[in-house]
């Protein structure tokens, strides 16, 4: 029997509304019966005696939380393994404090078949670091025309469905998607971008006018959100808006929720911290989709986090090699590498200015994501799978891209001074990463 005793930490468990200084014991991959109950953990230790092979982690001054879950990452396997593989991506995930991630289907080929779902799950198991759950494509080849085998993929283990990278453009196909997915109670994650309106390289605004770059208007995102909310009104499929970025997008979700519509939403760290002004020097590190918007949009997203319109915090981790990004701005690929600095960035954006409490932060990074994708995770209650993240909220550190486990190095946050990071990541009761072994 293997066990880990985490001592002297403060447990933050949103699933039990628990914030308390206490120890926690993990036995054989599960939170021990008394692990986070009112009873002393030492009872568990005594109960299992010395036949247990034991590891102790001193979490003094740290938070002990359910493992962080990122439901939006891009691992480039199959197809672009030089940018990232499931192995390197999982390593990056645990180094960032994440115990589970959901990987998007815009691989080459797309994850639009049972075989590809199987492949991801097998590979995740083989690598044995973070849990990698595949998101299946909505349409064949993500072409937006014909539905993919959603039922079979779900049965095989696809955790949700998305054509991410693009949204489903054809309204008729989208309506059928809602109807079909409803049957399986499948979750749809939509990359909301009206492609006819879009096509630029950065946010359409004053900065893009000055720079002479084609713009991506805010309306491109809002249009698809509005359309989907309307299409889904009478169907009620579970629907999740990915990487929200504009003020009115947040407002649309807010109104939708008020009307009782089935919708959840996520945001990415850069949309809470940066604006399109960062693109002034044509530095492609700041090129992503949806693009960096204006200060008003940033504020609206933060307000959306505070009032619950935005349910969860994700990363949209999108690795690209340095030479792929070293192109003219219009031709460089979209995306930034996020897993290994997301937590620190969210602390900077939300905790430090006092916008949210630690309880809410962990809720949005663990408990709520687990609920949305219907994973039995995001909790430290007795008997739960022992996915645990230990976070030191005070440690000052600098983002150092060169030390990353990810294969790629594309981030505008390199060199940023942050406060707070994960120190240990435990998946299924095994320590998969700690700062000292890094």
């Amino acid at each position: 029997m293997k066990s880990i005793l985490i001592k002297n930490g403060t447990i933050i468990d949103p699933s039990q509304d628990l914030e308390e200084k206490r120890d926690i014991l993990i036995i054989d991959g599960q939170i021990a019966p008394n692990g986070s109950s009112k009873y002393a953990v030492s009872e568990d230790v005594r109960a299992y005696g010395s036949s247990v092979s034991h590891q102790t982690i001193d979490a003094t001054g740290c938070f002990v939380t359910p493992g962080l879950i990122d439901i939006h990452v891009h691992f480039r396997e199959p197809g672009d393994e030089e940018e990232e593989t499931i192995a390197s991506g999982s390593a990056a995930a645990v180094a960032g404090g994440f115990t589970s991630v959901c990987c998007m289907p815009n691989t080459k080929p797309a994850l639009d078949s049972e075989a590809s779902i199987e492949f991801i799950l097998e590979e995740s198991k083989r690598v044995g670091l973070a849990n990698v759950f595949p998101v299946g494509a909505i349409t064949k080849g993500r072409e937006g025309k014909e539905l993919a085998e959603i039922g079979s993929m779900k049965a095989r283990g696809a955790i949700a469905f998305s054509d991410d990278g693009v949204g489903v453009a054809d309204s008729s196909v989208m309506r059928k998607t809602f109807q079909y997915c409803r049957m399986f109670d499948a979750l749809i994650m939509q990359h909301c971008e009206d492609h006819a309106l879009s096509g630029g390289a950065m946010h359409a605004g004053l900065v893009s006018t000055i720079l002479g770059l084609g713009g991506i208007p805010a309306e491109a995102e809002q249009l698809m959100i509005a359309r989907d909310l309307l299409l889904n009104r009478t169907i009620g499929c579970r629907y999740h808006v990915q990487h929200i970025s504009t003020a009115f997008s947040v407002e649309l979700i807010r109104r939708g929720k008020k009307d009782g519509l089935n919708v959840t939403a996520e945001v990415s760290p850069h949309h809470l911290l940066l604006t399109d002004e960062s693109c002034r020097t044509y530095d492609t590190s700041y090129k992503m989709n949806p693009p960096l918007r204006t200060a008003q949009d940033v504020k609206a997203c933060i307000d959306g986090v505070i009032d619950g319109t935005i349910d969860i915090l994700a990363t949209d981790h999108a690795p690209h090699l340095a030479e792929e990004k070293e192109l003219e701005f219009p031709y460089a690929p979209f995306g930034i590498n996020m897993l290994e600095c997301a937590l620190g960035l969210y602390i900077k954006a939300l905790i430090e200015p006092g916008h949210v409490s630690w309880m809410k932060l962990i809720d949005m990074m663990s408990t709520r994501p687990a609920q949305i994708v219907q994973l039995d995770r995001g909790t430290l209650r007795a008997g739960a799978v022992a996915d645990v993240t230990i976070i030191d909220p005070e440690v000052a550190w600098k983002v150092d891209m060169d030390s990353w486990k990810s294969k790629s190095r594309n981030s505008p946050f390199d060199g940023w001074s942050l406060k707070g990071r994960a120190t240990h990541t435990i998946v299924s009761g095994k320590l998969k990463w700690s700062q000292h072994s890094a």
């Binding site: 605004g205 006018t209 000055i210 770059l213 070293e326 192109l327 003219e328 701005f329 219009p330």
Partner: protein, 315 residues
């Protein structure tokens, strides 16, 4: 003349970042260099032994020849690099291509490219001087400078003038460079075109935006016509060339309603009969040929000044 200003920039990437004094300094230098083209031996040794490469990734005989001649007048060695047949067409990136060129030992790279920010990218990745010959819809600084020179030559000043720039502003690097230069030197700029081609954002940059050309035609000292491009019709930004000419062309009829001594300009090449009538373009109120003539002196000044600054920096 602005004697106190020194030119310390080893790159010329755009007019946005230049001060009014720096712009005047370039114009004054160009004025002195104009004289070189009047001699029988049209050369000075200022850039002797320096290598200037014209890297034109986008077609342009006119600008390329202008830079080429300017460099030769300064006694530089000139290399012409055009995209066709180069490694770029075989899939090499811009940065790799530029690095290969730089490895030959060059001093100034003049670059024209269809992507906005291309010159910026190269200035970050190479060590030589970069002169922006036009990058996408972003800037065309030497065009802006020669336009300012031509206006100053004609009116003796730029401050206080009213200048209308007409046409496809949104996609025009010339319009942007002119906007920066003209407003910095105190002119009032009016951007004229349809809303699909002229974004309201330009008002935040100090310009007036007008959709009705006729409203503006009688109040301006300079009318600067831009070229109409067929791609705009195809992407639904404007119905037809015919309608464009009706609404925004400099027709003879509109010309009659202009100020008596209005000055007509165009960056070339012109679509005769489309944005501008032939007889107006060829008439004595047209500065179009002067622009080309001044382009040579301005480019000589730019090449001279960036090479001076680069030399100073490397000491």
């Amino acid at each position: 003349m602005s004697e106190e200003i020194r030119w310390t920039r080893k790159h010329l990437l755009g007019l946005e970042e230049l001060s009014a004094d720096e712009i005047r300094f370039v114009l004054d230098t160009a004025q002195s260099l104009k004289e070189v083209s009047t001699r029988s031996i049209k050369k000075v040794p200022a850039l002797r032994g320096r290598v200037v490469v014209n890297a034109f990734f986008e077609d342009s005989t006119r600008t390329r020849n202008s830079f080429s001649l300017a460099a030769q007048r300064l006694s530089a060695d000139v290399i012409e690099f055009t995209e066709r047949g180069s490694s770029v067409s075989k899939g090499e990136t811009l940065v790799d291509t530029a690095r290969t060129i730089e490895a030959m030992g060059i001093d100034i790279l003049v670059v024209r490219h269809s992507a906005a920010g291309a010159a910026q990218l190269l200035s970050r990745t190479l060590k030589c001087s970069i002169v922006n010959g036009g990058d996408g819809a972003h800037e065309h600084p030497t065009q802006g400078l020669l336009d300012l020179y031509t206006i100053r030559e004609r009116f003796g000043k730029i401050a206080g003038l009213k200048i209308a720039i007409v046409g496809d502003i949104g996609n025009s690097r010339v319009a942007r460079s002119d906007l920066w230069g003209m407003t910095k030197l105190g002119a009032e700029v009016i951007l004229v075109g349809p809303p699909t081609l002229v974004s309201k954002s330009f008002e935040q940059l100090g310009a007036r935006v007008e959709y009705d050309f006729d409203k503006v035609v009688g109040e301006v000292d300079v009318i600067y016509m831009l070229r109409v491009q067929n791609e705009r019709m195809k992407s639904a930004q404007f119905p037809t060339v015919r309608e464009f000419t009706k609404l925004y062309g400099l027709t003879w009829d509109r010309f009659q309603r202009c100020k008596k001594d209005v000055f007509i300009m165009h960056p070339g090449p012109m679509n005769r009969g489309v944005e501008i009538q032939s007889d107006i373009a060829d008439g004595n109120q047209s500065g179009i040929l002067k622009q080309v003539e001044n382009g040579l002196a301005v480019r000589m000044a730019v090449l001279y000044l960036v090479s001076q600054a680069a030399g100073a920096n490397s000491v």
